[in-house]
Amino acid sequence: MTIAVNAGVEGQALKEAAQDWGAKTDTSIKIVELPYANLFEKELLDLKSKTGAYDVIMLDDPWFPQFTTGDQLTSLDKMYKAAGLNGPDGDFIKSTLDVCREPWATGTYYALPYVGNSQLFFYRKDLFDKYSLTAPMTWDSVLLAAKKIGAGEKMYGYVMRAAAGNAVVTDFMPLLWAFGADVFSADQKPVVNSPEAVLALKFMLELGEVTPPGYTGYNADEVSAQLLQSTAAMSINWPAWIGPMDDPTKSKIVGKIAFAQVPSEKKKGQAELGAWLVAIPSGSKNSLKAFEFIRWATDSEQMKTAALRGNPPTRSSVFDDATLLKKFRAFPTQKASLMGSKPRPRTSAWNEIENAFGIYLSKANSKTMAPEAALNEANKEITAILNRNK
């Protein structure tokens, strides 16, 4: 059985689980480990040409709508039915199960959730205590705290990533949602130039004033480096960076960082969901074994083992496990964040939309375009993309 996994921290637990399962069931396992961008290309090429090169694929949830077009993935509903089962159990956190269905939240299951990633808010608890600040609940309080800490310490109050494309969009989405805006209206029309979205972008630029000057070129690595080196006090970040914050070989701030849910503003704060899923390509020649494996790998016992290997779980019971809670102090916040998280818009053209949106957000952050003009251009571009992909 051949399994394609992401060559990074998200793929490590699945890789080890596959080897365990191979030994347990006496199945020969071949792991194909690919970096993020290559994984997408190779998997989609395999799905489109139905070569059957992979029996199980690991996929990032924004890829799911594109991967489910044209009967490319095996319907798990049918497999569950054939096995005399009803479907995934209720222990999975709903937001992570919803992105495994096409249409979103209501349709057929084509995947199971394996990595429960959603954004968290990282902040320096020691500095918040020093300046008598309460935990950041709203974006306004984040800005005030960032100004206060920035003025009193030799560091920046906030750090965010605004490199063109995925990076800037990822950090902007929680702001967009908190300010009451969205990418699409209820009838699926692009509305990134709404007055609420303009306010969100203007707020992002205000945050930019308390962020290191090079942030318009930052990706996740640079943001985390600023926190680890104690040169910035707050950021939005992914669970994969929780471990390094408390690792003395990498961090100057061991034990000083606290984790919170993404702040609110006009609406309750919602983190962006970045779950990793496992699915079976319809070209797989070992689909029954593959189904057996993905069910085994996502059961509570295996997910607990995966959590110990550094994998953020997608099951409620694993987040509540007493042994794990002692080891992973951010689990309660991670669970709450994951339960309230929101996925990126469910469209097969999301990669292209994110790229166009990211270009104009990046231009606004670089101050070469006014926020209104940037969002108007982004809206035009997104409309054109949707028209082309009709």
């Binding site: 489109k48 490199a163 070129g217 292209e352 990046s362 231009k363 375009m369 992909n389």
Partner: protein
């Protein structure tokens, strides 16, 4: 006899057809299909309306022109200086080639660290000498990003120009220069009237090889800026890659690739023509 001749060139023909002609014809076919797989001219009509492509073409031309002119100028300068040195010539020649030996990806990663506004060696060195570095954001600034990526290219590929020109200089016979010197010609006059004309074939070759490589620029920019901030460093190669492998629109990517192929072929043919004319 004719049959034997055909047999001799058959392996070369097979390689040419399977590795060059067939992929080009296949790309041509793909370029005339839309995302639903139907025959369509939409990819070619989109080329004229796509302003992201137009921006990336302009920036590619800017990138190629600036990098090429500076690399050629510096390569010529260093080749003349190092070639005229007595002792230490071989030491400097070997040392000068070091950047070119690095894989472009490694060079880009090194420069990404150098350019980091907070932790990078560049801003920290400038800070040490008392310069204000707060606004020196290098690859992160929309105004400075293109210059920063061009600087990396110059650093890495000037040695290539130097190497070619240096070899060209060594092939120039010494007698004409010595005779001119005895007649009292200045160094500038010798360079202008003897060295430069004899060096022209080498210079044209250097321009051709480097320009074709620059037109394909991808890895350095991808690692340094991924085309940003905004569209500040987006080039045609990056845009084609994104269209094909991120947006999975192979038809449009194929039509843009064929357009590039035509433009590069026209450029190379003209340069070859100029080269032949000047050499003649």
């Amino acid at each position: 006899m004719a049959r034997r001749r055909i047999l001799w060139i058959l392996p070369a023909m097979v390689v040419l057809v399977s590795l060059s002609i067939y992929p080009i014809l296949f790309s041509l076919k793909v370029s005339f299909t839309n995302q639903q797989g139907d025959w369509s001219l939409s990819n070619y009509s989109r080329i004229f309306a796509d302003h992201l492509l137009h921006v990336s073409i302009i920036q590619t031309i800017l990138y190629v022109t600036v990098a090429l002119v500076i690399e050629l100028g510096l390569g010529l300068f260093f080749a003349l200086v190092i070639d005229s040195m007595g002792r230490g010539k071989y030491f400097f020649r070997a040392g000068f080639l070091a950047p070119m030996l690095l894989p472009p990806v490694v060079a880009a990663v090194i420069w990404r660290l150098i350019y980091n506004p907070e932790f990078g060696v560049l801003n920290n060195t400038l800070k040490f000498f008392g310069f204000a570095t707060k606004n020196l954001t290098w690859t992160s600034g929309e105004g400075s990003a293109m210059a920063s990526v061009i600087l990396v290219d110059i650093w890495e590929w000037t040695p290539f120009m130097f190497l070619l020109i240096s070899a060209g200089l060594q092939a120039i016979p010494g007698e004409p220069c010595e005779a001119a010197k005895m007649d009292g010609a200045s160094s500038l006059r010798i360079f202008k009237d003897i060295i430069l004309p004899l060096l022209k074939p080498t210079l044209f070759l250097a321009i051709l090889l480097r320009a074709m490589d620059l037109l394909r620029i991808f890895d350095q920019i991808w690692i340094l800026t991924q085309g940003g901030p905004g569209l500040a460093t987006e080039t045609v190669s990056l845009y084609i890659y994104r269209t094909a492998f991120r947006f999975f629109n192979f038809g449009y990517a194929a039509s843009m690739s064929l357009l590039c192929l035509i433009l590069v072929t026209v450029f190379a043919k003209n340069l070859f023509g100029m080269m032949k004319m000047k050499v003649a």
